[in-house]
Amino acid sequence: MATTPAPAQNRSSVRTLLRLWPYVRPVRARLFTAAFVAILASCVGLVIPLVLKWLVDGPVADRDPAGVGLGALYLLLLGFAEALLFGLRRWLVARPLSHVEASMRAALYRRLQRLPVAFHDRWASGQLLSRGTTDLMLLRMFLAFPLTFLLVNGVTIVVGVVIMLLQDWTLGLVILGPAVPVMVTCVIFEKRYAEVARLAQDQVGDLTTVVEESVLGIRVIKGFGRHRNQARAFSDLSGTLRGTELRKARLLATIWGVIVTLPEVAIGAALVVGVVQVADGGLSAGTLVAFLSTALALRWPVESIGFLLAMSQEAATATERYFEVMDEDVEEAGAAAAAEGSRSAGRNGWARTAARSIVATEPGERGLRFDDVRFRYPDAPPGSPPVLDGVDLHIRPGESMALVGATGSGKTTLTALIPRLYELTSGRITLDGVDITALSAQDLRAKVAVAFEEPTLFSAPVGDNVLMGAQDTAGPADLERALSVAQAGFVYALPQGTDTQVGEQGLSLSGGQRQRLALARAVVGQPEFLVLDDPLSALDVRTEAAVEAALRHVLADTTALIVAHRPSTVLLADRVALLSGGRIAAVGTHHELLRTSAEYAHLMSADRSGKEEGAR
């Protein structure tokens, strides 16, 4: 009765685990050999009681010293064989399984680096990390123990039962009695355990996120003296996790209880029946000893099934969690899918692009062009207005355009679309007439350099951090030029100059210093297209003026889009575009817009208020 849902559940767990095959495949020979060796070792373990029986019934009973010696020798040889086989099994899988774990982790890291940025917005990095660490460790343990031992113990149990049946079939049947109830319990248990295990693993991920945030936000927490609140949030979560773990433990305890009791009852029954048979003379004492010895030897394999199933279940959950990430479409595929979404338009667009790339020299097409660009975040609630709703903008080749708009008007979003960190909802962006979706991400990003609002430095030498914006051929001369543009001469005064380690595992630099390095990184490769998101916000006035002077040279022949909050930054650009209500509301020079656009004047009117303040 209970078997109907059971196989389905079984299969789905098994099916999940089967997805590990591609990673296990390269080491399959060793893994299978190891499993075979393990079975062999178990068989040897089962033969030892038989030798004991033979010894007791034969030479010992016959008082035959030579026979006893021979028996002991057999025992010794079997013992050696068993020990060596045990060791061999472990030796066979030690390196390969570490390799499977490592290769799965590398694949996860690889995939995560290539998943759309929108994916990362959605997923807390703690959840990703817990997949890359604890989940993969669970999987390695699964491959090392439960997988092999479910097989080995299964075979051991079958062989043991056959041996027992051969020795005495009535006793054998008595021993087999509890098999069905044990199996039913296991099936019920497995289903419940799966749910709780998944919950626990997810909660571990949440906990990881809190730990991470509490470190990244340490200045805020300290600044407001909120570490107690943070600690409370943490202890609430870890308390919940404890509760889940205890539920898991209770399930495990139940299965243990059942799996210990039932076989033991069967052995007791077999003992009683056996004693009666021996007394009747239907059975030799030696056979009974051997039989019970076998039965007791099987106790561990049977008992272990409970926790082996639990571990397998956790492994299945870990696999599920792992593939949740691995099944996400990577960026390129995402782009293709997006193009497919508006199929006919996409096809036409493609054809047009192809046609255009031939006549790309047509003046109106060159430069950076936004064509009716609409964008809403993929995870935005349905019905909410798009962030960008029909942006049309043309930045001519060599021209620099400032992008101005109120806080939250979508300026940063717009800049993120150019290197395709997000995919357009509709419309096109073209670089010299070529649709950005027609370029590979690598080519596109080689053409477009970005300085982000948040200047992130990686744990690497300062020089490398800057040079990562250039081709591999870039050398010290390029570095020097970029650093001088960004007025980042402070780098040479660092303890190890341009080799100074910065980033999370290095020297911490001030916001202004990081911003200048991010700027240097953007200009070092002399890109065709430059996107600067509020690049001078953290600089002091004098540095800002110097950077501006140097940037003017760079911008003279670079097509650039510069997000700006200040007149000083705006003045770097040839023209200004005002982003408002998801559209470009006005384009012109700074002075034109000051006159013609009230909104622009409002956004840039520090001048007036400054005078008022100054006049006080």
């Binding site: 490592a102 470190v215 407001f224």
Partner: protein, 614 residues
Amino acid sequence: MTAATTAPADQEPEDRPTDGDPFDRDVLPTPPGATAALLRSLLAPLRARVSVTTLLLLLQQAVVQAGPLLVAYAIDRAVPAFRAGDHGPLVVVAAGYLACALAAGGLQFAFVAAAARVSQDVLLDLRGRIFRHAQALSVDFHERYTSGRLISRSTTDVESLRELLDEGLQELVTVILSFVYISAMLLWLDLGLGGVALASFVPLYALVRLYQRRAGRVYRARSTAIAAVIVKFVETMNGIRPVRAFRREAVNDADFAVLNQRHERTNGDALLEMARYVTGSRLVANTAVAAIVLWGAYRVADGTLALGVLAAAVLYLRRLYDPIDRLGMFLNSYQSAAASLEKIAGLLAQTPSVPEPSAPRQLPPAGEHPGREVVFDGVRFGYRTGGEVLPRFDLTIPAGQTVAVVGSTGAGKSTLAKLLARFYDPSDGRVLLDGVDLRDLAVPELRRAVVMVTQEAFLFSGTVAENIAVGRPDAGREEIERAAKEIGAHDFISALPDGYDTDVRKRGGRISAGQRQLVAFARALLADPAVLILDEATSSLDIPGERAVQRAMATVLKGRTAVVIAHRLSTVEIADRVLVMEQGKIVEDGEPAELVAGTGRFADLHRAWRDSLA
């Protein structure tokens, strides 16, 4: 083997400039015995429950071990008795076995449940300790330790203790119990056989020690290796945008592969150590079994040993060595946990460089102004990287004054702010708030009085309202909204999908940098401090945003003492006083108008800024 484990340590000085720094090598100094002391202190409060759990396990084992005894009894007594028509002994056997079976199952259930409670309570305690301690450590510690390592300490390292508690401890108790119990049984059955069995423990013990030594080394290396993997992982995921935009994927893959492979190697080393141990211990055990059987069989043949005794002894013998693998598993989890605990103990042994006062003082009651007087009295400060940032610094800010601090990068402006917020303590001298040394103020008192808003406006996952409430957790929704309105953040927050209840998700991905700074300001307004420090806190705001902040400072925060570090001189103009800093010294000090009119540096700066406004 040895080469593999020492190699990474040897390479370190080449990769990293500061080879002597324990932070770089992820090995914080641990006082001797700290690891064991940590484990003890974790288990001490649970002593009673640990005892009960152990007792359950003892009983369970006793019941399980009764099995063979009943077998011996059945063969030696029940069979002849049954033959003689006496069913009594057989009934005893049957009842005994049934009772044992039920008791074994029941006790097993009780034990597993009890052990899980102990284990989970220890983990809860340990996780909490790591977290609280990390939170108590000062900002300069976090700047060096990296979030990845801290995550590693509270996830993978805690996980290995969990393995020890969940499986290891049970294994250990089971192993010791069955060793003791079975040895006793064997000795009771026959002194000679038992003696031989005990003798076999000598080589086993030697093996265990050898394994412990070797595995300890391997596991320490492994724990360091996984932490390095995590650090890289976290860094990449947090910087995914620049990673993408600068096509770092392939380079990162390669870097990650190196770290990942180092972990793979140490992991393999650990498994191989285990393989060696298992082989060795099995060899010893099986040899002992063969020897004992041989000897026993001769004695049965001699007639000096009963057949039933030998049969029982043989059954016990197999069981005597069965737990050897489990002992291996225990040692395995023990070594792994020891390596992790050592790292955790190293973290917990770090003392905050900004300690809480042992005898906190109260601030005097606020005067007519809500603001308080700030005094830097002969303050010196230098970072660990060397170089004195502030060479002897004196400054008095009267209560209620708004001071703007300007100067180029590295002039010491942020240091000034961090000292005032007590993120650091001065190496010499005192920072006084209404005459009270900041070091004498309890943290809650200090944080109520002094609030700092920085350029990096970090948002925690949770709603916008929750993020503002960081300023004052007991604030109601109305107060939160008022703060947001005063700073000009209400409009954009209301426009979010769920208004104030919108989840900012991961690091506020969908809220622009400027909006984040507004939220950070709303926090500060809500906190309503006596002293407000703004360190570049308006850098990403647009001009209307900046004006809103200035308005709020002139109205809501009127009368507070404020220290404003800003590059935008627009902010400076609301100041009562301007300080120009250079190389840790104040080079100009005066009212804005006065300085502008002069010929000093500020006048230059101001002219440059005017020009920039064009």
